[in-house]
């Protein structure tokens, strides 16, 4: 297991496998299924400064080897998180990342100020949520806009800062470079891809918000390309995700240049998927005679 220890962004992760924001709640439910200290880390459900109810109407839709969600950042807000969720999360004995979204610059700043004073290990700045009408993804499409918000956040942020990129960005390479130049300690990608579903009986969009976010195995080939593209363009560590279901998928992301990975939708498909994947990594290293994942990282 020691072979899996991964250092990135000034933090030590027990292994490179984190669970992805919005697919793991705040960990409590999963702690009934397995020992969370086995994880490399946990990314919290996306938080906003203030509590949010989330979107009305249908929120989940299955697609061929994928799902579309329109949760709309339902969350208890930063204060409630720090008070009620974080203490329990810290007891899980793994790296705790807070996924922070925002509607405007001030929201991000205020959230950061509060989190600066908390026990959180890592901030994952969500500039990419496609499910909220204002802000959210708007920060994640144009690299100049992203550069602006990331550099401002970085100036005030006392925690390691990982920026979560949107696959809907105009250019993944430019976006990654912009975040690196703005001072991000790392980047994670991809968030969900903007998609749509139509209910032909009702002759209406399935989602009240019309567009929503696609995730799951169907997006993996796209996510892998984007991680590779980002990795070729920046030196900061990359946390790769998008459709990871198996250890083999993780290896692919690492070969494409990812330092860390996140498990998202797979947590729904097989709730102990992350543990299988971590176990599989050790087996893979044994089989291939590898002492450290550094030997294959970015090899492609």
């Amino acid at each position: 297991m020691i072979r899996l220890i991964t250092n990135a962004m000034g933090l030590e992760f027990k292994n490179p496998v984190l669970t992805a924001s919005g697919t793991f709640g705040f960990g409590e439910e999963f702690s009934e299924i397995y020992d969370l200290s086995k994880l490399g880390g946990i990314c919290s459900k996306g938080l906003t400064l203030r509590e949010r109810q989330g979107n009305s109407g249908i929120r989940i839709w299955e697609t061929p080897m994928g799902m579309i969600n329109s949760i709309g950042l339902q969350n208890p807000g930063v204060d409630n998180f720090i008070k009620y969720e974080l203490p329990r999360m810290k007891s899980y004995n793994t790296v705790i990342a807070v996924n922070l979204g925002g509607h405007c610059e001030e929201d991000y700043f205020e959230g950061i100020y509060k989190l600066n004073e908390s026990d959180v290990d890592l901030i994952e700045l969500n500039i990419s949520c496609p499910n909220v009408k204002t802000g959210g993804m708007a920060f994640g499409v144009k690299s100049s806009v992203a550069y602006n918000i990331v550099s401002k956040v970085k100036r005030i942020c006392k925690k390691p800062l990982m920026v979560k990129l949107s696959p809907n960005a105009e250019s993944m390479s430019e976006m990654a470079i912009a975040c690196e130049e703005a001072g991000a300690d790392g980047i994670s990608l991809i968030n969900t891809i903007q998609a749509m579903a139509i209910d032909i009986k009702k002759r209406k969009p399935v989602f009240d918000n019309v567009y929503a976010g696609l995730s799951g195995p169907c997006v993996k080939p796209i996510a892998l390309r984007m991680v590779h593209e980002a990795a070729k363009n920046v030196k900061i560590p990359i946390c790769g995700l998008g459709g990871i279901m198996t250890t083999q998928d993780v290896i692919e992301f690492i070969m494409a240049g990812a330092t860390l990975v996140q498990i998202g939708t797979a947590n729904f498909i097989k709730p102990d998927a992350a543990i299988d994947i971590i176990d599989g990594l050790t087996e893979f290293m044994d089989r291939e005679g590898i002492d450290s994942l550094d030997e294959i990282r970015g090899i492609v």
């Binding site: 919005g22 439910e29 989330g54 929120r59 989940i60 299955e62 339902q74 498909i269 097989k270 709730p271």
Partner: protein, 241 residues
């Protein structure tokens, strides 16, 4: 709750599009709880929520209707095949609230989760089952329930009419229901009128089944709740309908 690959004991068609799936399972289960079920191949992605129909001696029984891709695929599984189960999930019925004279009202396949409840409540609870025209599950209920009333829309079997026509709410302290939304809404309304406490088991599209994805929202008087974790059983008092 746990994730296991369980062996199928039987998976048989028992009525038009209705299958009974029996699997091995050790653990304890509250009536009204459900499992997320998936085949081990990739013919569909999200597990499907299916309620516990019956449980005893390490045998868990589900009753499901084939609707789309997932349930159709599940229906092709055979004895000894392995199937992925995740559960038990959800709050289930609060038995303490039902230690009074209770009416259990099921509509079609919606009655599936009510059998195990009826078994636990015993003769104290009467059962009302409404169907379109195809009747199933009635014999199982008769074994446990106080009185069992069966009706069909066209009267081909049992009484003719909607199940809601045959209930005298004055006879009951509590009502439990699961079935089509329009039926449940009508029952909730009647219960409010008659001041009878009422519990409904709701269906929502689910991804995780365990409370983390926030995909299965139910609008309550306290804001959004999760059908999978705060439910699927809700007290009619909480519901906004």
């Amino acid at each position: 709750m746990k994730v296991i690959n369980s062996r199928i004991i039987e998976n048989n068609l028992i009525s038009n599009k209705i299958y009974k799936l029996k699997v091995e399972f050790a653990g304890s289960i509250i009536p009204g709880q459900f499992f997320m079920i998936k085949t081990l191949d990739n013919s569909f992605l999200l597990p499907r929520p299916i309620s516990v129909h019956d449980f005893n001696q390490n045998e868990l029984t589900f009753l499901y209707r084939t609707e789309g891709t997932g349930t159709t695929k599940i229906s092709t599984m055979r004895e000894n095949d392995l199937i992925q189960l995740f559960g038990p999930l959800g709050n289930g019925f609060d038995i303490n609230e039902l230690k009074c004279k209770t009416a259990i009202i099921g509509g079609g396949i919606g009655a599936a989760p009510l059998l195990y409840l009826s078994k636990v409540l015993g003769k104290n609870a009467d059962v009302y089952l409404g169907y379109k025209n195809d009747v199933y599950m009635d014999d199982s209920f008769r074994k446990y329930a106080g009185n069992t009333v069966v009706c069909t829309e066209d009267g081909c079997i049992g009484e003719k009419g909607f199940v809601t026509d045959f209930i005298d709410y004055n006879n009951y302290d509590a009502v439990v229901t699961c079935g089509p939304e329009i039926m449940m809404n009508k029952i909730i309304e009647s219960c409010r009128e008659h001041n009878v406490k009422c519990f409904a088991s709701l269906e929502r599209r689910m991804a995780c089944g365990m409370g983390v994805c926030l995909g299965c929202t139910v609008e309550t008087k306290d804001g959004y709740k999760r059908a999978c974790k705060d439910g699927p059983v809700f007290s009619a008092d909480e519901l906004r309908c």
